[in-house]
Amino acid sequence: MSANTPLDQHTGVAVPLMRINIDTDAIIPSREMKRVSKEGLGEALFANWRYADVTTRRENPDFILNQDAYRQASILVAGDNFGCGSSREHAVWALKDFGIRVIVAPSFGSIFYGNCVLNGILPIRLAQSHVEALAAEIEAQPGVRFSVDLVKQQLSTPAGKLAEFDISAADKRMLVEGLDGIALTQQRDAEIVSFIAADREQRPWVYR
């Protein structure tokens, strides 16, 4: 688990993808996981929707990420339960490689949410009505840039919308400081060792 680029503030082009229940198979189809690698997966992002022909990579002009206003998007505004389904971290690696740093949705698949935090992508949960208002603002002005301040836990738009969001203190720290989670836990090694020693007495059948 390598440390990530710290994410305290971010401003970028926002793109709406308001379907509900967008699953990780849609974010990256299994057949696109061709190499044992976390790198270079951006091309495979949303492959079934993004390409009219996935083999030749001929684009589907109707898909929003193929429209010029959104090719540089870094903030994704999505429908409820984004990232549900398979645990494949490749979904997050593909989004990151494409350039996405922030995802806003009413709710997220829980494994996907954790995978985002560990890879330096900020998942923001906002009420459905807030998310829909953001999507409407983008559609009224394609290419609009939103700003996120993770320290203040605020998202702001040129139209003057200001949304405050919740995030756990642990996740916030991971993102803001770009921490290496394993190194953080290893600082508690003495605690872990003594816990396991006591647990071995309590539950000896667990240990092999």
Binding site: M1, S87, S107, I111, N115, L118, D171, I182, Q202, R208
Partner: protein
Amino acid sequence: MSHATLVEKIWAQHRIADLGGGSALLLIDRVFLHERTGGIALQGLAAAGRAVRRPQQVFCTMDHIVDTFPGRGDATRMPGGTAFITSTRAAALEAGVNLFDINDPNQGIVHVVSAEQGITLPGLTQVCPDSHTCTLGGLGALAWGIGSTEAEHALATTTLPILRPKQMRVNFLGRLGRGVTAKDMILKLIGLHGASGGVGYAVEFAGAAVTSLPVEARLTLCNMAVEFGAWTGIIAPDDATFEYVSGRPYAPDGVLWQRAVDHWRSLASDAGAAFDREIDIQAETIAPQITWGTSPQHSISIDEPVPDPQSQPDEKRRAAMSRALAYMAVEPGRPLVGIPIDAAFIGSCTNARLSDLRAAAAILKGQRVATGIKAICVPGSSRVKQAAELEGLHQVFIDAGFEWRESGCSMCFFAGGESFGQGERVITTTNRNFENRQGPGTRSHLASPATVAASALKGQITDVRRLGRQR
């Protein structure tokens, strides 16, 4: 007087440190890996110069992209697939973890193997970079799916920082009707409350219709907790659980067995335990379920018409329904029964244990699948396959016109190898009916093994309860 839920009890027993804001550092008792997402975790760890802290408590199998044809080796039909197998094998051997390799008699789908080998025990914490790890909640373990990076953390430290989930209990009251299975129970729940109904929750399944389920069916019920959006699902362990676990290769025995069972008997929610949400479902109201669309929440009773988007007040849900109807080429207002199918698939971590194969074989015995139907059975593990063959079930499947395969995840998803094909309609015992999940353009209807077997015989979607009358 304690008022803790089952999940809270296991949580408290594993809490090493409070991390603030509802998060805790939890001890992880077992890590399971497979070649699709586990090899990359082992490699990432090695690349960072880190070791697996307790390799004896780590297990690895080959299931996701292995070939399921007889005589298989490392070659796969998936482009680039062999590299996943060989690199995972190399990393597993290097790290010294327990490995069930392709031709090991204990190889199989990760969550099937973990239960049948006694690797999962009640009250354990277990993780795997695979979303269906929640299956193992059926044994009373706290088991959940993680990403590859979290897997590196669990391997390196035997711990994970976790945000405490909210608590939900789903009570299935009363008795199930004839032809109704655990698969129908979970599809009914998701159909009623949506694919995001469980987001943020640990879900305990309870009630007479749950406690009367055999252990393998409990694994099916918990398997699709993730399709409900839940962090995980769990069922309190009982005598049936202990009987299931007893004598399995990795289960404790002798004096330790007795100590373990004494501990396990304390693993139930207390009478006064508080849940953030409770849902009651009368088991008698559950008919065999089938999905009509492209989300598990698009689930209906087999004798019910496909819903009409016009009756859905929510715009987003209405749009998703219309899109799903078009993808699936089914019509609102009409039942699915009678729609011709192209293929039938029995397999996956949801429904490919011995009891599932017996249920399907009971319907197939002495019959042939309809002309032109591609029918495939892929046992959940090599042990399941062996046990089925000892009972002669394989001959029932083969005589009925099913292919009888080696174990693996197989066509539960399309990895670039085998597929059912563009526009083909498949009735399947698997867990996901997403667009393109089983192949580009493939249309998947999720159902129980009995419903899949009955539909294969008729060549069309069939109500298993009416099969006798239709014949």
